[in-house]
């Protein structure tokens, strides 16, 4: 496990480390994502946008951050 005070999580299949006690909204900010740009699935449950700032990131959490695309070449950011 990582150093004390860190949360080891999986984001889109990749291992990631964040400061302990940060919220999902903080995590998105660290990843350079605006909350309106993505849909967050947290341990297989969709996280409502209103809950992003009140949900803590904990070791072992699995996140999927998704958005709409048109295909392999295209990035479509239309989430509000």
């Amino acid at each position: 496990m990582g150093s004390p005070g860190t949360a080891l999580v999986t984001v889109n299949g990749q291992p990631r480390e964040f400061g302990e006690g940060i919220t999902v909204a903080d995590m998105l900010a660290e990843l350079g994502l605006r909350p309106g740009m993505v849909v967050v699935e947290h341990n297989r449950r969709i996280l409502e946008r209103a809950s992003l700032a009140s949900t803590e990131v904990r070791t072992g959490d699995i996140f999927e951050l998704v958005h709409f695309v048109g295909g392999g070449l295209i990035e479509c950011r239309t989430f509000r």
Binding site: N12, H67, F68, G71, L73, E75
Partner: protein, 258 residues
């Protein structure tokens, strides 16, 4: 002559052509092709954000959301469970509660798993989704999907990306005759004549992606498809002459010189 609009789940569309947004060489070409196609509805897929390219700006903000309706699809799903998961994620994006349901059953042909499709359709309809279900050209499955509450049933012309055109016009006509909900032919159209022949069967619309995106000139092909869909629709509304096994002269046979 005025046609009635395509109406799905109470929403009216002036164009009977629906296009996908995948496989274009670049975003500018996709936007130009969509404009040339006249489509008012385009499909989009739900995928992971690329964490290493999180600053990328998207393309759909170039599309006029007043004019273009975005239809989230479940492309690439192989189980009912996955399709339902993708549909829920698409709805959580906050655009609408529609989904183009696609559950693939075979990698080589990309033919649908119709059992899983019916299962997923029931689940999604119960959750309040407007489901447009991709299926094969089987009449019984189409009836089951309508029975499950689908807003539209989308039988294939031929396998996804094959460009083989309409291989079973008889069954497509039968599906259109038997169903009350809109029938949109989805997948397999290769060129404009395929689109025209498909619309001449009396179906309500066509969804295509590869035929436009992978044409040498997608923008030209998009316009060709627009015209072909309109031509096929008009021809069907006009009612074609009967086929005859013998010739019938089109000039008077009287008044000939002796």
């Amino acid at each position: 002559m005025q046609d009635i609009p395509l109406t799905i789940a109470g929403r009216e569309f002036g164009s009977r052509l629906i296009v996908g947004t995948g496989k274009y060489r670049d975003n500018a070409e996709m936007v130009s092709a969509i404009e040339a196609s006249g489509a008012e509805m385009v499909t989009v897929a739900v995928r992971r954000v690329d964490l290493d390219r999180s600053k990328d700006e998207g393309i759909l903000h170039h599309l006029d959301h007043e004019k273009i309706f975005l239809l989230p699809n479940t492309a690439g799903c192989y189980t009912a469970e996955d399709a339902v998961r993708y549909a829920r994620l698409g709805r959580a994006a906050g655009l609408n509660d529609w989904v183009k349901l696609e559950v693939i059953g075979d990698e080589r042909t990309l033919l649908p798993d119709v059992f899983a499709t019916v299962d997923a359709a029931r689940t999604l309809v119960a959750e309040g989704f407007h489901v447009l279900a991709y299926t094969n050209e089987d009449v019984v499955t189409a009836l089951r999907l309508e029975d499950a509450g689908c807003a539209a049933v989308m039988p294939l012309a031929s396998p996804i990306g094959s460009g083989l055109g309409l291989v079973n016009p008889y069954f497509i006509r039968e599906i259109k005759t038997r169903l009350t909900c809109p029938v949109i032919v989805d997948a397999g159209v290769g060129t404009a004549s395929d689109a025209c022949i498909t619309m001449e069967q009396g179906v309500d619309g066509i969804l295509m992606n590869t035929a436009i995106a992978q044409a040498s000139n997608p923008v030209r092909m998009a316009r060709a498809m627009r015209l072909a869909v309109e031509a096929g629709r008009l021809a069907w509304l006009a009612g074609r002459m009967p086929r005859r096994e013998v010739a019938v002269p089109s000039s008077p046979t009287t008044g000939m010189l002796s």
